[in-house]
C-alpha cells in the first residue's frame, strides 16, 4: 500500500485475481457443469417438442442453440460477484488501489473461461444433434467464440447492478436479455447463412465490433455499478 501502484503491480493483481477466480470455480465443478447441462437439455427439448424432422431441425437449430446459449450464460452470471459479495472479498477488491475496471475485466474473463469456453467446446455436438451441416457447425463455433465474451461482458453490468439484492436472479434476466438481442441476431443469422453456403464475414465483423465495444465500455459500467451496489 505504501508504494505507488505501477504497471507490473497492476498486471500481477490482474493475474492473481484471474487465477483465484479460476481456482474457486474449479473447486466447485458442479457450478460449472450445471449451466452446461442446462444448455444441452434445453436444446434436446426442442426436437422432442417439434418433431425429429431433419429439415425443420436444421431451420430452427441456429436460433435454438443460440437462445439456449444466452440462457445458459445467464444462469451462470449470478455467481460472478455473488459469493465475493457475501464473504466480503468484493469490498476488498473495491478498496484496492488498482483501477476497478481492469480488475473487473479479470473476473469477467475468468467467468467466460468457465462458462463460455466449455459451451463452445460442446456446441459441435449439439450442432450434430440438430442436423446442422459442417459449414454451419464451423460458423456456430466461430460465432460462439466471438459472441459469448460479449454475453459475459454485458451480463457483468447487470450482475453488478443486482448483486446487492436478495432476489436478483429474475431481475437480472429482465435487465440483460434485451441487451443480448444484437448478438443473437448476428450470430444466429451467421449460422443460418453458412448452412446455405454464403459467406459470413459480415456477421462475424459485426460480432467482432460488438466484442470490441463491449470490451472497452462494459468494464467501466460494471465498475461503476459495483461501487453503487456495494456502497
Amino acid at each position: 500500500m505504501n508504494v505507488t501502484p505501477n504497471e507490473p503491480e497492476l498486471g500481477r493483481a490482474f493475474l492473481t485475481l484471474l487465477r483465484r477466480d479460476l481456482l474457486l470455480a474449479f473447486r466447485r465443478p458442479a457450478e460449472i457443469a450445471n449451466p452446461l447441462l442446462f444448455f444441452i437439455i434445453v436444446v434436446t427439448l426442442f426436437p422432442l417438442g417439434i418433431g425429429p424432422e431433419p429439415n425443420t431441425l436444421q431451420t430452427i437449430a441456429p436460433g435454438v442453440i443460440w437462445v439456449a446459449a444466452l440462457l445458459a450464460s445467464m444462469l451462470s452470471l449470478d455467481g460472478m460477484f455473488r459469493t465475493d459479495f457475501d464473504d466480503g472479498a468484493l469490498e476488498q477488491i473495491l478498496l484496492s488501489p488498482h483501477p476497478l475496471s481492469v480488475l473487473v475485466l479479470a473476473k469477467v474473463i475468468a467467468h467466460w473461461m468457465v462458462s463460455g469456453l466449455p459451451l463452445i467446446l460442446l456446441s459441435p455436438l449439439l450442432g450434430m444433434f440438430m442436423n446442422l451441416t459442417s459449414q454451419s457447425i464451423v460458423a456456430l463455433v466461430l460465432t460462439l467464440l466471438l459472441g459469448t465474451p460479449v454475453l459475459s461482458l454485458i451480463g457483468s453490468i447487470g450482475t453488478a447492478l443486482t448483486v446487492g439484492l436478495r432476489k436478483g436472479g429474475v431481475l437480472l434476466s429482465l435487465l440483460v436479455l434485451p441487451l443480448y438481442i444484437p448478438v443473437l441476431i448476428f450470430a444466429a443469422s451467421a449460422v443460418e447463412v453458412a448452412g446455405v453456403g454464403f459467406p459470413i464475414a459480415a456477421q462475424l465483423s459485426f460480432l467482432g465490433a460488438l466484442l470490441a465495444l463491449a470490451l472497452t465500455l462494459a468494464p467501466l459500467a460494471t465498475a461503476a455499478s459495483l461501487r453503487i451496489s456495494v456502497s
Partner: protein, 254 residues
C-alpha cells in the same frame, strides 16, 4: 456562462424545484390543452382521410407522436442519469424515475395503436417489422429500468443504479435498432413500406405536429407534477417541506 451554471445549480435544490415546478406545471397543462384540443379536431375531423388507407390513417396522429415520445423520454432518462452520476443532482434522479412509467406508457400506446392500425392495413395485429420489434424492445428496457429501481429499497442507490442502466441502454439502443432492422430485411424483404415522412401533405402535417407538441407538453406537465410530489415525499423531514405543509394547512378552512 456563470449565470447559466448558477441557474442549473439552483435546480438541484429541492425547495427551488418544488417552487418552480409548482409555477410551471399549470402553464404546461394550459399549453397541453391549447395544442391537444385543436390537434384532436384536426386529426379526427379537420384533415382529409388518406387516399389509400382511408380513415384508418388517422390513428397515425396518436401513434407517431407516442412513438416519438417513447424515444424522447428514454433520452431524457439517460441524460438525467448522466447528470445524476456526474453532479449527483437529486432532482435529476427524481425526473428519471418519474419519467420511466410515463415513457413505458407511451411505448405501450405506440405499440397498441400500431397493432390496431396493422390489422386493417397488413391483415395482422402483429408483424415482425423492424420498427415494431425495436419499439417492443424499448418497452422491455423501460420495464427493466422500473423493475430495477423499484426493487432497490434505498432511493439514492436505486437512482444511481437506474442511471447506469439507462446509460447502458442508450448506448445499446441504436445497436439494437439497426440490428433489428438488418434482421427484418434479411428475413422478410420489403413486406411493408411505411409512408415517407417528407411526402406528407400540409393538411396532415399540421395535426401531426400539433399532437406531437401536445404530447410533449403533457409529458412536461405530468413529470413536473409527479416529480413535485416525489420531492415533497423524499424531503418530508426537511424544514421547507414542513413549512409547505403548514402553509397548505393554513389555506384550508379548519
Amino acid at each position: 456562462m456563470n449565470r447559466f451554471v448558477a441557474w442549473f445549480h439552483r435546480w438541484g435544490s429541492p425547495k427551488h424545484f418544488y417552487d418552480m415546478s409548482g409555477r410551471w406545471a399549470p402553464w404546461m397543462a394550459a399549453l397541453f390543452f391549447l395544442t391537444f384540443i385543436p390537434g384532436l379536431y384536426y386529426s379526427l375531423i379537420g384533415s382529409p382521410p388518406d387516399y389509400q388507407q382511408g380513415e384508418s390513417a388517422r390513428i397515425m396522429y396518436i401513434h407517431v407522436p407516442a412513438a416519438w415520445m417513447s424515444m424522447f423520454i428514454y433520452g431524457v432518462m439517460a441524460l438525467a442519469g448522466a447528470i445524476t452520476l456526474i453532479w449527483k443532482m437529486k432532482m435529476a434522479d427524481i425526473v428519471a424515475q418519474v419519467s420511466a412509467p410515463i415513457g413505458a406508457s407511451f411505448t405501450f400506446l405506440a405499440l397498441v395503436t400500431g397493432s390496431l392500425w396493422g390489422k386493417p392495413m397488413w391483415g395482422a395485429y402483429w408483424v415482425w417489422d423492424a420498427r415494431l420489434t425495436s419499439e417492443l424492445i424499448l418497452l422491455f428496457l423501460f420495464l427493466g429500468y422500473i423493475a430495477l429501481t423499484t426493487s432497490i429499497d434505498d432511493k439514492r442507490t436505486a437512482a444511481r443504479a437506474g442511471a447506469v442502466l439507462a446509460l447502458v441502454g442508450v448506448v445499446n439502443l441504436p445497436i439494437i435498432h439497426y440490428s433489428v432492422e438488418w434482421w427484418s430485411t434479411l428475413h422478410q424483404p420489403s413486406t411493408v413500406k411505411v409512408m415517407g415522412k417528407s411526402a406528407i401533405h400540409l393538411s396532415m402535417l399540421i395535426p401531426l405536429l400539433l399532437m406531437s407538441f401536445a404530447f410533449k407538453f403533457y409529458y412536461a406537465w405530468v413529470v413536473l407534477s409527479s416529480a413535485r410530489a416525489e420531492v415533497l415525499d423524499r424531503d418530508k423531514n426537511a424544514k421547507w417541506a414542513a413549512d409547505v405543509a403548514q402553509a397548505q394547512a393554513g389555506e384550508m378552512p379548519s
